[in-house]
């Protein structure tokens, strides 16, 4: 139920997408979610959406009253959409004939909005892009950017989101600058997360201004989402000191965290070294987060990173730990952490060795003397070898004994490096003589 509540906070077209996601993935909530999605779709004018939601619901619960296809609505909406498109296009044409810049821009904006609402995203992008020709104030540029970013969001095209948000993030508009900053931070944070760039995403989200009303950015995410995304990503990418300084002691981000006490608790547990508690809190909310539209694809990576960090942190103060105690702290019942440890050691994220006989995890503590000796000898040997090789090469070239391409015959393969087949021919001498001849010429 928590999730459904969360969805309600978000407005705009992502709301439908969130509902559909829940309907697809979550058995206990899907009926409710799909019904809500149908209502949501019907309140707009996107027929495809309605059909999708209806089909999902029909396959899940054919007996519900909503599972009956509302053809009447479809037809009437289709007609209305078509009329509206024609009307707006004619209007735009009129503006264009009159050459009034502002009207053309508004016409394009209206057309774009209309296309967006009926689900024709490509046409909407075109229309919004055309707005850019006729902008006259910074506010217009900003609007245009937001429109384009919002379409890119719907397509999950994160790179485009970032480029559009980037274009507007430095515009100074005066009064509502703070509000715009909040939008750009949230939007680019979510897009960075979409690209898998977790550390930057966390950094961006942490800079969101909490005093701005959520309505500025709730087309993208709610304040709860900001807290969850920012908190989880920071937990996955930052060390304990940074977490303490930049999250727990960060007055502005604290306000977001108040919406999500779990996250705050998990972070403070992590900072205080109580890793298993931290993980169990995260585990308890995993199901909810899995139903989040932006978080879902990244959940496994983010969670496993946090887990790895916990294990690494847990192990730092010890020189050796029994595998049993690690199992107790991190393992699920009847499941050892050993395979996970092996993977982490292989990746290099955990500097330790497993002692399978005594069931221990032993820290690697290289003997500094050995390291110095090995390095010194390796350097000396390498220097010696390289010096010899270079001397040899100098003398080779001095004696005119380079492998030479002989005479290049006109034919196929001219231009590229060729393999000289005639290796028993007298290339060496030819090369030598060739060099001599060159010398004389120069």
């Amino acid at each position: 139920m928590l999730t459904l509540l969360l969805v309600v906070v978000v407005i705009g077209r992502t709301r439908y997408e969130r509902l559909i996601l829940i309907g697809r993935c979550c058995v206990p909530l899907r009926l409710e979610a799909l019904k809500a999605a149908i209502t949501e779709a019907k309140s707009g004018s996107d027929i495809t959406r309605y059909k999708d939601a209806w089909q999902l619901l029909r396959s899940v619960a054919p007996d519900e009253p909503e599972a009956k296809r509302d053809d009447e609505w479809i037809e009437s909406t289709e007609l209305a959409n078509r009329n509206e498109t024609t009307r707006l296009e004619t209007e735009l044409k009129g503006y264009k004939n009159n050459l009034i810049k502002e009207s053309i821009r508004m016409g394009n904006e209206d057309l774009g909005k209309h296309f967006e609402s009926i689900g024709k995203l490509t046409e909407a992008t075109d229309a919004y892009n055309k707005m850019r020709h006729d902008v006259s104030t910074t506010k217009h540029i900003f609007d245009c950017g937001i429109h384009l970013a919002s379409i890119a969001f719907q397509r999950h095209d994160w790179a485009t989101v970032l480029s559009n948000v980037g274009k507007i993030s430095n515009i100074q508009t005066g009064d509502d600058e703070q509000a715009q900053q909040a939008y750009t931070k949230v939007a680019s944070g979510v897009a960075l997360m979409g690209l898998g760039n977790y550390y930057d995403a966390a950094n961006t989200l942490l800079l969101t201004n909490p005093n701005v009303s959520p309505t500025e950015y709730n087309t993208v995410a709610s304040p709860n989402d900001v807290a969850i995304y920012g908190g989880l990503l920071a937990l996955a990418t930052m060390d304990r000191k940074a977490l303490q300084a930049r999250i727990l002691d960060n007055q502005s981000f604290r306000m977001f965290l108040e919406h999500e006490p779990h996250i705050r608790k998990a972070i403070s547990l992590f900072v205080n070294g109580r890793y298993s508690n931290c993980l169990s809190i995260l585990e308890s909310v995993r199901a909810d987060y899995l139903l989040d539209i932006y978080l879902q694809p990244h959940m496994p990576t983010i969670y496993s990173r946090i887990r790895e960090k916990c294990i690494v942190q847990y192990f730092i103060p010890f020189s050796c730990v029994t595998l049993d105690s690690l199992d107790a702290a991190f393992g699920a019942p009847n499941q050892s952490v050993e395979p996970e440890l092996i993977r982490m050691i292989r990746d290099g994220s955990l500097r330790a060795r497993i002692d399978a006989k005594n069931k221990l995890l032993v820290a690697v503590s290289p003997d500094p003397r050995l390291v110095v000796q090995t390095n010194a000898l390796a350097v000396a040997r390498k220097y010696e070898q390289e010096a010899k090789e270079r001397l040899r090469r100098v003398n080779l070239i001095f004696s005119g004994l380079e492998a030479s391409g002989a005479k290049k015959l006109p034919g196929p393969g001219v231009g590229g490096p060729e393999v000289n087949e005639a290796w028993y021919e007298e290339n060496g001498q030819l090369a030598g003589q060739g060099a001599e001849r060159e010398d004389q010429e120069s």
Partner: protein, 489 residues
């Protein structure tokens, strides 16, 4: 026979008898010219009395005459009553004891004797004699001669490797310069015991003309010799000399390509991962290698992954290629070593690990499956520890599966004294190298090319000096800045 005796004992081989080294040089030259062009009657006289002829001179004091006699005897027909082994023994005595300075006066004859050794002696003896002769001529073994190639070919073809190793292990640093005739000032140093080997070897014609292919072939065969001994590090060094051979016009010879293919496989065997190119291989050469050795690169990149089945598949798929390149055995060796490297890599994860765990975690690339039972794994691991491939210790448990392997550090800690000795050795050899660098520098500095370059530089400098007339103190009007000074520059 009296005539023979008269001709041969005419020369007194000890330099002390002569008033100056110059006089010795003159005498030795005329003596060498005389004994290398014997008249038919003298030759027959020698061939009729081999025993006497062999006893006439001591090989270590009068090597010039001795060589002539031995050459005459080996190539001519001797009376049937005399066993041929007598003459061969004489030849062996000569080759083991000849005087390295005198031999410079009869370099061409001596070289032709060395070239034909394989037909006179059994391969094992011939290789031994060749190696000895090479090192007597040039104790450092750092100059490449045509004899090197003859020796390594004979050694590799007949599998008589042991005696050749002392020559193969020496680093070759110099090459006789054959594109120019021996300079007269070099020729007069033939008697100089301190002369650098690369000077007298070329001027005494102790080597035939060298081609770049001879050098490539030598190093490739050298690598093959090491490969047959499973001495991967040395094989890799030799192959790096092949693939890194300086080239002109982006050309890559076929030997170099062959060398590259072997180099990739040897790298896998040596380090368990694809080798990385030495710094001096140019990017054009690299891309040629990558193009022609694609099948090998695929194998190499699969070698470090868990994909034993993919590796096996790739190996089976390219069987004809491996056969064509004569690399099948080497490749099979690499495939066998795949599992061994997986075991070795476990040391990065485990401090101690049981045999049964090793069995579950490693795959054989021959079957793309785990080994059948723990006994087999135990055998594999103990073999690896015995051969020194794996540094570790086995603790035999009640069953094979409960036996444990303890991995040791890759490098053992040295005592300070050992470390100091090792550092001193490196220091020493680098100092020797520095000397050789100086020599090379002088050698390069005295060439025509360098002189021409210097003159050109000098001219350029003069020109620059004339142009750069804008000193700090010279006064330039602002308006002139754009027109006068910059325009002239």
């Amino acid at each position: 026979m009296e005539e023979v005796r008269r001709i041969f004992v005419e020369f007194s081989p000890s330099p002390a008898v002569y008033p100056s080294p110059k006089a010795y040089d003159v005498a030795a030259k005329s003596y060498a010219a005389c004994v290398t062009r014997l008249s038919i009657s003298i030759q027959t006289a020698i061939q009729l009395n081999p025993v006497e002829a062999l006893q006439l001179l001591d090989p270590s004091t009068n090597s010039i005459g001795c060589l002539s006699i031995i050459d005459t005897l080996l190539r001519g027909s001797i009376p049937e009553t005399i066993p041929r082994s007598l003459i061969l023994d004489g030849a062996v005595r000569f080759l083991l004891g000849f005087d390295p300075i005198q031999i410079r006066y009869v370099g061409a004859l001596f070289r032709s004797l060395l070239e034909d050794l394989g037909s006179f002696f059994s391969p094992l003896v011939a290789v031994e004699l060749l190696a000895n002769a090479i090192l007597r001529i040039d104790p450092s073994g750092s100059v490449f001669t045509s004899t090197h190639l003859i020796m390594v070919k004979l050694a590799y073809d007949t599998n008589c490797i042991e005696p050749a190793l002392k020559v193969l292990d020496a680093d070759i640093l110099f090459y006789p310069r054959n594109s120019q005739p021996a300079r007269p000032e070099n020729a007069k140093h033939l008697y100089d015991a301190e002369a650098e080997p690369y000077i007298y070897i070329a001027s005494a014609s102790l080597t035939d003309a060298i081609k770049s292919t001879s050098i490539l072939e030598y190093h490739l065969l050298q690598a093959m010799v090491y490969i047959s001994r499973k001495d991967w590090p040395k094989a890799q060094v030799a192959l790096e000399r092949v693939i890194g051979h300086p080239t002109k016009d982006k050309a890559v010879s076929k030997i170099m390509v062959d060398g590259y293919k072997k180099w990739v496989l040897v790298g896998l065997l040596r380090e368990g991962r694809p080798p990385s190119f030495p710094s001096y291989v140019t990017s054009a050469t690299k891309s040629t290698y990558n193009g022609v050795g694609e099948a090998y690169n695929t194998i190499a990149s699969l070698f470090t992954t868990d994909g034993a089945s993919a590796l096996k598949e790739e190996f089976d798929k390219g069987r004809s290629t491996w056969e064509e390149d004569l690399n099948l055995t080497l490749l099979e060796e690499a495939i066998v070593s795949y599992q061994k490297w997986q075991v070795i890599n476990l040391r990065r994860i485990y401090h101690q690990v049981s045999i049964s765990q090793i069995r579950q975690m490693t795959l054989s690339a021959q079957t793309a499956e785990t080994l059948k039972d723990d006994e087999e794994v135990l055998l594999l691991v103990s073999d690896m520890i015995e051969s020194g491939m794996l540094k570790g210790q086995l603790q035999i448990g009640p069953t094979a599966g409960e036996s444990y392997v303890t991995f040791h550090e890759e490098h053992a800690l040295m005592t300070e004294a050992e470390f100091a000795a090792e550092v001193a050795r490196s220091h020493n050899s680098i100092q020797v190298l520095t000397k050789q660098y100086r020599v090379t520098n002088e050698r390069l500095g005295s060439t025509k090319d360098y002189a021409r370059h210097l003159i050109r530089e000098h001219k350029r400098m003069e020109k620059d000096l004339a142009d750069a007339g804008v000193g700090f103190d010279s006064h330039i009007e602002d308006e002139d800045l754009m027109t006068g000074v910059l325009g002239g520059a």
